[in-house]
Symmetry: C2
Subunit: 345 residues, 2 copies
Amino acid sequence: MFRTIEWMDDANNVRLVDQTKLPLKTEHLIISSHKRMAQAIKTMEIRGAPAIGAAAGMGMALAALESGASTKNELLEFLEHAADTLNTRPTAVNLTWATTRMLNVARAAEGDPNKIVQLLISEAKEIAEEDVRMCRDIGENALRYIKPDFTIQTICNAGSLATVHLGTVGAVVRVAHERYSGRIRVYAAETRPRQQGAKLTVFEMMEDNIDTTLITDGMIGTVFKEGRVDCCVVGADRILRTGHVTNKIGTYTMAITAKYHDIPFYVAAPMSTIDWDTDPENLVIEERNPDEIRVINGTPITVPTAKVYNPAFDTTPPELVTAIITDKGVVELPDEDKMRGLRDC
Amino acid sequence: MFRTIEWMDDANNVRLVDQTKLPLKTEHLIISSHKRMAQAIKTMEIRGAPAIGAAAGMGMALAALESGASTKNELLEFLEHAADTLNTRPTAVNLTWATTRMLNVARAAEGDPNKIVQLLISEAKEIAEEDVRMCRDIGENALRYIKPDFTIQTICNAGSLATVHLGTVGAVVRVAHERYSGRIRVYAAETRPRQQGAKLTVFEMMEDNIDTTLITDGMIGTVFKEGRVDCCVVGADRILRTGHVTNKIGTYTMAITAKYHDIPFYVAAPMSTIDWDTDPENLVIEERNPDEIRVINGTPITVPTAKVYNPAFDTTPPELVTAIITDKGVVELPDEDKMRGLRDC
């Protein structure tokens, strides 16, 4: 199965998918120095918060291998410089979280530097595996809803490419695909303006040999009416304690259309996505650059001065959500009591 | 106001918008020979059934001017050749309809050739004006629903560019805009895959100084929820006697989403769009080339071998339609009895 980033034990280096080339070219980069990893993070050859955390952890392990240190102090000094080098994107909290975690492991370790290097490699792999496990737990928890021969409607990309492996919605699809011997299909909505469905979801599903059909966003009504899909599974950028789900623009329209056709509408996201503080009426939706709509691949598709409304996300109210599926468990027909119940269980 | 094609009385030639250059360049062609008009029709510098009919009529008038005939017989012979030259698109019924109508006028006319030439010019202008009047009648009939300061949600392009002037949905917008001193605004849905909303509707509304905002198809839920539009007005490729409306893909999803928000959903189309024979269960929806979805402006937006579902149209059932607005009158909450009532009144 497709992995966004992976530690290669045989060569002690890192293999990652160059996301700047997708979806037209699948090129893997082999990275064997922390400086090259810093560059990969900076130029977004790897992107997505969990994936970046794993990249930073592996970058620190590479630095440990590079150091050639003969004492623990030499090693620590080298790693502190490496952490600075890897922190190339100031707003990526996973980046500093991962480099700090690696430094703490090195500081706490006893024994000769070679042993500490091995500990650091293990820790980097563990950071990646924790993300994979979280995704897998979401996928396992979804199995109560996803049956063999289901076709799943998705929007945007909540797949492997933002995580180390599997993704969130990606895990729902992949775990079922694995469990049901390939008897799972996907309909991917293009997701204008940025077309992550067409660019990323179609790509990674095809990489994993999952039967995937691309449609444009306006086709969902026809796809639902014709009985082409059994349920929708969407990701979330933020879930409120009330069960309101903020996700990529187009999700709300899909939820309304699913309700009209009595098609179940599931949200798959980790517990860390739940915002326990914000009230629905205080949600602010970011408006993005009009050229995301007006220009595709560098060519205008409308009058270049056209007025545009470009909200990046929308919010689906809980009455349109059949269930929220997290790594910890599920909440059906979500409301504030049930959400708190999941948190406190 | 913006006209797709127009007879210029001062110069006795035809001015039309070169539709192959839209929306990035607004170039008008001045056409003063029937051979050049034939070329314009063939290369789709002008397109859309009603607009092509007008172009053919004006092409015949140009031929009459070119003929230099000194007898009626010479003129008729020249016109018959011209009609053959103009019939460049075999499936365009409006083309032969218009050239035949012009030939019949010439055949029936008495008097010297110069007088007949003037008659033909008048007839060509009349063909165009009939189309304008039909559109205007739709716009007038819509005024009972469209109030000052309304914002109208559209999809695809049912505007001037397929007709001589105004369009169908275009007429609803323009007649109200004219009647209410400009107090009408438009939200235009992009309409993937072919983006006629972005390419054509935005262009022609901006040409007429109508305040227009472009959105992607998935944004309609947010636009409706935020109260940004007062009603939807869509065109129709075919309306069944039951009130089912076949229109550009995305219309059905928009109708469902409008219903959920209690936003009126109007269909604007001429009586000639109504198909009195076909049953809803026998409707066949054309599937088009997958590359309409996979490629935009020559550049792939997904894996080039991605599987695609690309229905060109969808069908909105009558229970989602607030009213059908035709040139003859309106039908609210359409059903078969009311549709027949409109026909027979």
